[in-house]
């Protein structure tokens, strides 16, 4: 490997990301090349300088918990509203059915006791049909 190739591998060498074989080749080259050794030292210096930039960090747990709680409350409220709307629609539908049955019953009563009786849409035990009273 020539110097140009070696230079492209110094960063990976310092990061221990080269295969054992390539790392050995690079180290062998460095033993006899002062220019590449200088480049390696410059990169080590840079890493030392970069390490000076420290950052302090806090704790976000309380914020996370509050946000989750707020979203949970919102989701729970949304679920309740959805369920309420579903039940309202169901009640409206039942009102419609009851009104229809009442209308049918009223017609049957006007037709007299011998007229046909409205049948429930299911069979009761022991009988094939039941009469709505």
């Amino acid at each position: 490997m020539n110097c140009s190739t070696i230079r492209t591998r110094l960063t990976a060498l310092l990061d221990a990301e080269l295969s054992a074989h390539v790392a050995t080749q690079v180290r062998t080259h460095l033993e006899t090349c002062p220019d590449c050794t200088q480049a390696l030292e410059e990169e080590r210096l840079l890493r030392g300088q970069a390490a000076v930039w420290l950052v302090e960090v806090g704790d976000v747990w309380e914020g996370v918990r509050e946000e989750i709680r707020a979203q949970s409350d919102h989701e729970a409220l949304a679920e309740i509203l959805t369920e309420m709307r579903r039940l309202q629609a169901e009640v409206r539908s039942l009102h419609g059915e009851v009104a229809s049955l009442r209308a049918q019953l009223s017609v049957r009563r006007q037709e007299g006791p011998s007229g046909p009786s409205p049948l429930l849409p299911y069979a009761s035990a022991g009988r094939s049909t039941s009469v709505l009273v």
């Binding site: 960063t11 300088q49 970069a50 976000v60 918990r65 989750i68």
Partner: protein, 184 residues
């Protein structure tokens, strides 16, 4: 405790397990966000908080693959990119909490602070992908393979971006070393 077991408990709604995950991962995520965002500490904390809230919301869809750390770093990075794109934050150059650990004489501390600011400026001027790679590799000690998983790019790209970042920083900090940038 194993992160997959913790996540399984989190998926069942266990807040205590979720707290364990937050406590374990937040230091790395906060450091990463702070170095990715050229702004104050609160901005980075908001980003990391949002990442955890998203994890909680997606908890039932989580598939154990032992890559939670990479997943969270990826979410934080994307949120950082969104935040900068939506509202470019003003560069904050001097904040007391960014000072290096105290040590040495006042003169040495001042020198170290000037160098830290020069490094911060140089890192934050890197193109985004180089900056992500450099921060994850140099400051967080991630392997190239883990960085590739986090950034969803080939390992070769990670290696080349790290090298380009080092070259760019060497050029920029070279001026500082020669004394020309110490007054900035």
């Amino acid at each position: 405790m194993d992160e997959d077991i913790l996540m399984q408990r989190v998926a069942e709604g266990d807040m205590q397990a979720f707290r364990c995950l937050v406590v374990a991962y937040q230091p790395r995520l906060l450091r990463f966000a702070r170095r990715m965002l050229p702004t104050d500490r609160t901005f980075a904390e908001d980003v990391v908080q949002e990442a955890f809230v998203r994890l909680w919301r997606a908890r039932s869809r989580y598939r154990p693959e032992g890559q939670l750390g990479c997943f969270l770093l990826r979410v934080v990075r994307n949120l950082c990119l969104d935040a900068v794109r939506d509202a470019p934050p003003a560069l904050s150059l001097e904040t007391a909490e960014d000072l290096p650990a105290p040590g040495g004489s006042l003169h040495q501390q001042a020198e170290a602070r000037a160098l830290a600011n020069a490094v911060r400026r140089a890192v934050q001027e890197l193109p985004e992908l180089q900056r992500s790679v450099f921060v994850l590799s140099h400051y967080e000690g991630l392997s190239y393979a883990d960085i590739a998983r986090t950034l969803e790019c080939p390992v070769g790209t990670v290696a080349s971006r790290k090298r380009l970042a080092v070259e760019a920083l060497r050029r920029r900090l070279g001026a500082w070393n020669e004394g020309g940038d110490k007054q900035r």
